[in-house]
């Protein structure tokens, strides 16, 4: 084992950060309100079409609520770690909303549930 591996093995700070992450209270998807779920759907559709939505585009979804409400709901999704704001390519001025690994897992679970319902209905 080289020195770098040994250093990483004994890196107590990394252990501590990972422990704090495990103990961090997280919001369960069932506790998220309907408007936030609708925003999550819009973000997922954008990701599926390979055209992720910008934060301004989400604020412009007037059918779902006022910009202030949408901002609040978007924060709920960010806190629940279902979505993340990212810079894409070299554009450092616009942030795009994409799904996190947990967000993707949520849609995978929904997809599996839909498939099992279709199978059970023949």
């Amino acid at each position: 084992m080289n020195e770098a591996d040994n250093h990483m093995k004994n890196n107590y700070y990394i252990n501590f950060l990972n422990l704090v992450k495990a103990l961090e209270p997280s919001v369960e998807i069932d506790q998220i309100d309907v408007t936030s779920k609708l925003i999550l759907d819009e973000i997922a559709i954008g990701v599926a079409k390979e055209k992720p939505m910008t934060v301004s585009e989400i604020m412009g979804l007037k059918g779902l609520g006022s910009p202030a409400t949408l901002h609040r709901k978007l924060t709920i999704l960010l806190d629940a770690k279902l979505v993340q704001a990212l810079f894409l390519a070299n554009n450092r001025r616009t942030k795009y909303m994409t799904l996190t690994k947990e967000g993707e897992m949520h849609f995978n679970r929904l997809s599996q549930a839909m498939q099992s319902v279709q199978i059970s209905n023949g």
Binding site: Y12, N18, A22
Partner: protein
Amino acid sequence: MNTQLFWHNKAVTYVVVTLVFGTIYSLNILLTAPLLLAPGAHLVHLPSGFKFLLVLVFGVIGALSVFTVSLFAALGFYFAGMVPLSLELAFANALAPLLTTKFFKDHGWIKNDLADLKWKTLLIMGLLFSALNTAGNQMLLYWHEMTLNLADGMAIMFIGDITGVLLVFGLIRVAISGFTRLRKR
């Protein structure tokens, strides 16, 4: 103090962790003395939760700190002058969290750096730790004839350990959530 020194110098880590755990242990003895229902067994034992978390993060260094504090507590408070028993108890106290983490790491249920550690895994680890800690301590006490009712001692100590572990997890979760809210303001 230089935080880099704390995280990377094992001697400094050992001294600081021992002092912190020693303070928690002493405060627990002072504040919860009436809850000592059986020899070595509190109904709520917060240091057990800290003991488990310290060994989880600091590994063998954490276990050495637990050994040191447990030895001083046994010699100076619980079983004054009984050196063999105090040494054996200190060994059992350090071994229980170390064996728990080793068992989970060996089976691949947690990683060496605790990445992707889940809340549920922590709870199961807490249960195993409480069982090992209780069994080790109470069997030693029974063997040295410090307790006459092994089952009672085991039951009280297990309840104390598990409530201690859960309370410490809960307190840390509340602290993290409070800190996150403050940071957002």
